[in-house]
Structure formats: C-alpha cells, structure tokens
Amino acid sequence: MIHKQDPELSTLPAGSGEALRHRSVEVERGVLLIGVDLGTSRAAISTSNGVRECVSSVVGWPKDRVAQKVLGEQPLFGDRALEHRLSLDLIHPLRDGNLAFPRLQGEDRDRARRAAVALMRHLLQLSRPRQDMVIQAVIGAPSKATKEDKQAILEVAREAGFDRILVVSEPFSVAYGIEVLDEAIIIDIGAGTIDLCRLHGTLPEAEDEITIFKAGNFVDQELARLIALRHPKAQFTLNMVKKAKERFSGVVESSDRAIVTFPVQGKPTPLDITEEIHQAVGLLIPEILEAIQQLVATFDPEFQHRIRANVIVSGGGSQIYGLRRALEEGMGVIGGGTVRIVDEPVFAGANGALKLAREMPRDYWQSLQ
C-alpha cells in the first residue's frame, strides 16, 4: 500500500486529534479519475482522491528577463497570474467556453494553444497524481461546441498528460451529477456563455441545446460602460468591475447599496453603482427566458409542463440575487415554472464529470486509450 498525505490534514488546528493528524489517505496503485469543467473565466476540477480546485482560466509568462528573475521561468496561473499581470504576457486560453486556438491563426494560435496545454497540465498537477497512475478524465464542453472544439480538447488534454479522455456537454455533466436525467432544463451560467440543455432521457442532441453568448463577461462590459457613463472620470479596469459585480450582484433587489472605491483622477473615491449593477445583471434575464421558451416550445406538448417544472441553474452566474424569482416570474407567460439553484454551483460541472468518470464502464475507458 502506498500512503498519500491528505493535504487538509496538515492544516487541522491543534487538538483535533493525534490519530487524524498522522493518518494518511491510502491510495492504491491504479487509476486517478478527474472531472474537469473548463470555463472561460474559471476552470474547476474534482478528483477521485478528494481534490477540488478552482482556478482562473488565465496563463501568464514572464515578459522579460527581469520578470523571469523575479517570478521564475515557469508560467503562472489563475489569480497569481492576475496579481503579477504587469510583469506577464497574459493569455486567456478559453473564449466563449471553448478553447480559443482553433479559431486563431499564426502566432496567436500557437500562443493560445501553448497556454491551453499549460493550463491543462496545471490542472493535472493540482490533482496530485502519482507517477504510476493512469489518468482518466471527463472534460466538459459548451453545449454548442463543434466537433473541432471537442477534438481540440482531446488534443490538448492528451499533450498535457491525461491518458484517457471523455468529452461531454457541460450542462449534461451537471445533470448527471445531480441525477436529473429526464424532463428537465439545465441552465449553466458562466462567464463566456450561458448553456441551456433540455433533458429527456437520452444524450442531448443539437436541438436540445442552446448557447447564449452573453454571459458574465458581457455583464462586466456593460457594467463598465454604465459606470463610465455615470462617472466619466472614474478610473477602473474590467477586472475591478468584475470583482465588484461578483461582490455586489447579491444586492440586486435588496436594500443594500453597492459602494465601490475607484480612483477618480488618482484619488480613491466611493461610488454608488447599485443601479448600474441592477441594470447590467438584469440584461441576462430576457435572454435566458427566451431560450427557455424556445426549448419548451419545441418539446413534446404533452410533456412541456414537466420540463417547465424542473428548471435547474448552475455555474458562477447562478449566484445573482433574485435570479430564481426573476426567471419564475418571467416563465409566467408560458404557463409558469419552478426554478432551483444547484448546491455548489461552481463545482457542479466538475462533480458531475467525476461521477460520469466513476460510472463509466472499465471496458469503455480501456477502449479510449
């Protein structure tokens, strides 16, 4: 038996039990299963050895020798890359939910591909695999990902060190994780896309899926525009706006105000952006409602009421305060509906992918090598 230290055990506070402090998670030689959710803004993994991580989908290489000396030669990832972005060439390997490089040319394509491989390798390292393990991964792709998009995922994952790879629709992955396989609509609200998937007991087909290309990033841009309109002298970046949105999107329809401190001509100044957030976040609701209506309308009329009664929302964007109520109210025009938010919306896709990996028959995995 090979012993492997559980990373959380070392951080247990003193007095929590000597037995637990020194106990290790025993992992036999064999297979490591990983569920991967590749998002435009964030990538999440959930593994069979208990690892759960979420990183920003950004890779940065030191710009020059000085930066190399300070930060090292290896690329930085996630929040660390964002923190040192002034010294790095930052690359976002995902766009609109898919890997960016298939749609690029020349040097841009090479850089984006290199970043995608680096990010996948980083995710694999976060999984803490042993050298002798076979890595089997289920990786989520957007609903409307093309075959080229899915092949790009296979290619990059293989190069990063994954041994056996399955690509699956991300909303389907969410549905599988919560064991909702029939008569439901899954809505995955991310940064690049909002993916809707209608489930009716089979693998979703093209007509069962809708992708809306206005999601978290669109809201950030719109919010930035509205803030600039009202506070023309305020200085801010999209990253600052994004953080403000994530922090305050919960104040929509509440009595709290969203007060941020942005520099105005160099002087930190409190700005009330409650109305701007309300407006920007609210832009998503009509788009989602329209997509729901489309999926309901093209479903068997005898069972439309069933999928209306089972609308499930996941993804980072599901945390918008009042979303559930807004969607249910909006669905009133098509006969009403019931909306619920999944537990752990950020990891719902990765958890579902891990469950798929666990329940996929062994023979199938072996055939995928």
């Binding site: 998670v25 036999e28 490591l32 069979s48 899915k150 296979l154 690509v167 089979t202 329940e359 055939s367």
Partner: protein, 237 residues
C-alpha cells in the same frame, strides 16, 4: 490645654524665635532674609488647615460653624506648640503635622474617627453630623462595592470570551475533521482500484441503472466517433 490663655501669634513667634544681629548673619553668608508677617503666617496656616481638612474628610458635608471651630482648634494647637517651645519641632515641621493627602478614590482611614470638636454628643447638631457622616460613609462603601463588582464582572467577561474563543476553535476543528472524514469516505477503498477492476460501476439495483447505462454507452460512442473523425482528418488533412 484648652484652658490656657494663649498670647498672640506675633508674641509667640517673637518669644519662640531668636534675635540675631545682621552682621552675624552676613558673616554666616546670609545675604538675604525672607520676612513674613503674622498675618501671612496665619493665612498660610489657615490654607494648610483647609487643605488637610479637605483631604482628610473627603466629601464630608460639614456645617460652616463646625469647620470654623475645627480651624480655631487647629490654630489653638499651633499656638500651643509654639508656646511650649519649638525645640522638638523638626525643620519640616509643617509636613509632619499634615499627613499626605490620600488619593481621591481612597477614603481616609481617619474619616470615621474625626470628632466634631466641642460639640455636645447629645445635641441635634451632633446628630446631624453623625447622619451626614454615616451617609457619606455609605456612599463610599457603595462606590467601592460597585468598583469591585465591575472588576469581577470584567474578569468574568474576559473568562467567558476566552471560553467562547476556545469553543469556536473546537467547532472549527470539528468541521475540518468532518470534512476530512467525508472526503475519506468518498474515496472508496477500490476508488483507485488496480487496472482491471471497476468497483465504481453502476449498481444494477439502482433505479437509474438502465437509463444511465444507455447514456454512458451513447456518450462513449460519441467520443469514439470523435476520435475516428480525428483520425480521418489526420489521414486526410
């Protein structure tokens, strides 16, 4: 002693002191002399007496007549000392007679034993003074009691806060332990089973077994097609 007819303060000071010629003083190196009049000495004595009385008696609210009698008594004592001779008086004479004033928060130990001078114990005035002294003593005791209570309360609160912090840490430790246990439970013994085993396969007894089996098969086939397309693309770029 109180029956004596005392001379005036000036006469006492003249008798108590000694006369020295100015030349002798110059020979001793004394070039300047501070001259005090009887009225200045009397005034200084009165001020000293008032301060001492205030410090000694605290917030006692004594009638003016009583205070005046106390002053007269003090002045009498002062003159009596002078009449008896100052040989026994040390150079720091004024400070040995007046004890250092206690701190304002500490009640004077002399407080209960200060008798109103020349007062008939049976007189109404005496009773009034006694009542006032009792009242003031009670107030002092109450202040001390509250101070002690506040100190004890503070100590208990500090103790409670320390206990609450310990409880908070223990709760955190328990939650961390729960998470680790939960995660360990999630890692089934055959989770990373040797190649060739798949103990995580679908449970045939599960109500979703058939539905899931179909879905997994469809997913596998879709991925195989993807690889075939990829292979075909590689052969025919």
């Amino acid at each position: 002693m109180q029956g004596k007819n005392l001379p005036t303060l000036q006469k006492l000071l003249e008798d108590a002191g000694s006369v020295r010629p100015l030349g002798e003083l110059r020979e001793r190196g004394i070039k300047r002399i501070r001259v005090l009049s009887e009225s200045q000495l009397t005034q200084a004595m009165r001020i000293a007496f008032n301060r001492a009385l205030r410090h000694q008696l605290g917030s006692l609210d004594l009638p003016a007549a009583v205070l005046e009698r106390l002053r007269e008594a003090a002045e009498w004592e002062y003159r009596s000392l002078l009449a008896d001779g100052l040989e026994h008086v040390t150079p720091d004479f004024p400070t040995t007679l007046v004890t250092p004033p206690p701190t304002p928060s500490a009640p004077s130990a002399d407080l209960p034993r200060v008798p109103p001078p020349n007062l008939d114990p049976g007189s109404p005035e005496f009773h009034k003074i006694e009542e006032r002294m009792a009242h003031n003593l009670t107030e002092l005791v109450r202040k001390d009691w509250r101070t002690e209570l506040a100190a004890a309360t503070r100590h208990q609160q500090d103790h409670l806060e320390a206990l609450e912090q310990r409880i908070g840490k223990l709760v955190q430790a328990l939650e961390s332990t729960d998470r680790v246990l939960h995660r360990i439970q999630q890692v089934r013994p055959t989770e990373s089973a040797p190649l060739g085993a798949n103990a995580n396969a679908l449970d045939p007894a599960s109500p979703l077994f058939e539905r899931k089996s179909e879905l997994l098969t469809a997913l596998f086939q879709a991925n195989m097609e993807l690889r075939e397309l990829r292979g075909a693309g590689a052969k025919n770029p």
